[in-house]
Symmetry: C2
Subunit: 282 residues, 2 copies
């Protein structure tokens, strides 16, 4: 049986915890893997917890009792959240994004897998104690954000489709009206996506008036699911918002197609009353 | 300035490396962050490298010279690859997946964000030295696998669309014929997805005869891009394969709709000549 030094144990435990966010690992499992006393394991975990906490990158949550153990909760601190969201604002302000009809090209931003993971970590921080059982998004652009968020929360993902595909089996479909362009559409979700009464976290890339998100909320009602949070990467400032209680990292306040100018500010996660209001301990 | 102990430094360095696969970090950056001598940093990195290597979870690659540093290459060892792929086979064999027309329901499997990341790590191991600049997939089910792979390779993702959306701007479109059902379709990719001459890694969830993948290869030709690898989670055993050189984790050899039986075996990554042939050092 391999003899583990503390230094190697710290490296390997850190890796195991980071790779399995929100998953409970028992002290016995660690003690067995490293052939070490539980007291040594506890000391190691205290070092890891303290390092994560001081850098504001996460916490180890201890669950006591026979079925207990420790789990890693990823966190982003207020400063990192601000840096990531300001970077998002700067990217969004680039006038080259303006497409015909005032749409914005976002595929380069959402194609940056590392940036998408950074945003997922922010949502995982915000919704860490939401009690969600599943992350729900709508194809196509919301998918990477939903998976990034879900992987930091240790949750599965269900994808709402705009067309019902034969490869989804039996589906529940509802009709939607886009709030901004009054365009008709439909949203479908495979019946076996999740069980009735699930708690869902909705994640999407962009929201104008909120017609699609409202459609998703209605669709969740068909599954008797409870929406416990709505996280939108960037929303638009509109006169008539269909959805309340959504959170955003950035808000597009104006798209001036003629003068090729996009105005963006930080979303409602920041500032007074926001999650990242600068008062969090780290 | 904070004083870092070696134990805290090991935890924090491990975290930094794991969260930024394939990204070069200079020794000076570490030395500055931890207010430590480069010789101490080198010793820490040696411990981390040795721990990763012994467990078969990755390597630290050192780049020497003025612009040098160290980067983390995630790896899956042969054993883990086998466990993950056998788990995939077992899941695929579940007869409840059979949909009308012999299609297979995969959304539950692909909705498991942790499992998707495990598969992404396998592809990142296989294509670690492919030289790819970008990971390309086709909507919708390939997207999570592509992002998981890309995040372990430190690469961006480009998503080929089946319909051309206004939010993509100018696109390049080609027509395709599905190899199995002879159905007509089209594939589009935003013109600004990546620069001409890029090296692309194609990742997708499922391949029958390979019409879609062949369409993607043709589309890559329009961008003067070079396909350096093709990774398919599960392929089907067919008489006439359109695509050569694709790699798979699992192969569906038969779908017997009448008797509700699906036969699955390990894909061509395993066995003689495969990447995970059991002879790798870890």
């Amino acid at each position: 049986m391999k003899k583990w030094k503390r230094s190697a144990r710290l490296v390997d435990m850190t890796r195991q915890l980071l790779e399995q966010p929100h998953r409970l690992i028992s002290l016995s499992a660690f003690a067995e893997r490293y052939q070490a006393a539980k007291s040594s394991i506890s000391e190691d975990l205290a070092i890891i917890h303290e390092t994560f906490r001081e850098e504001g990158t996460g916490l180890l949550e201890t669950v006591s009792g026979a079925a207990g153990g420790v789990r890693y909760l990823p966190k982003a601190n207020d400063y990192d959240a601000l840096v990531i969201s300001k970077r998002l604002c700067t990217h969004l302000e680039n006038p080259d994004r303006i497409l015909p009809g005032g749409y914005l090209y976002l595929s380069d931003l959402l194609g940056d897998a590392q940036f998408v993971r950074d945003i997922g970590r922010l949502w995982a921080t915000v919704f860490s104690h939401s009690g969600a059982d599943v992350v729900v998004t709508v194809e196509t652009k919301g998918i990477p954000l939903a998976y990034a968020t879900a992987s930091f929360l240790g949750l599965p993902v269900a994808i709402v489709r705009r067309d019902s595909r034969i490869t989804e089996g039996s589906v529940v479909t509802i009709n939607t009206v886009s709030g901004s362009s009054k365009r008709l559409g439909s949203l479908s979700l495979a019946r076996r996506s999740f069980s009735e009464g699930s708690k869902v976290l909705i994640i999407d890339d962009f929201m104008k008036a909120g017609g699609t998100v409202q459609g998703m909320i209605d669709l969740m009602g068909e599954f008797r699911a409870e929406v416990v949070g709505i996280g939108i990467m960037a929303d638009s400032r509109v006169d008539e918002r269909l959805v309340e209680h959504s959170m955003s990292l950035a808000t597009v306040t104006d798209v001036d197609v003629k003068n090729r100018r996009i105005a963006v500010e930080l979303g409602n996660l920041f500032g007074p009353g926001g999650f990242f209001d600068g008062t969090n301990p780290y």
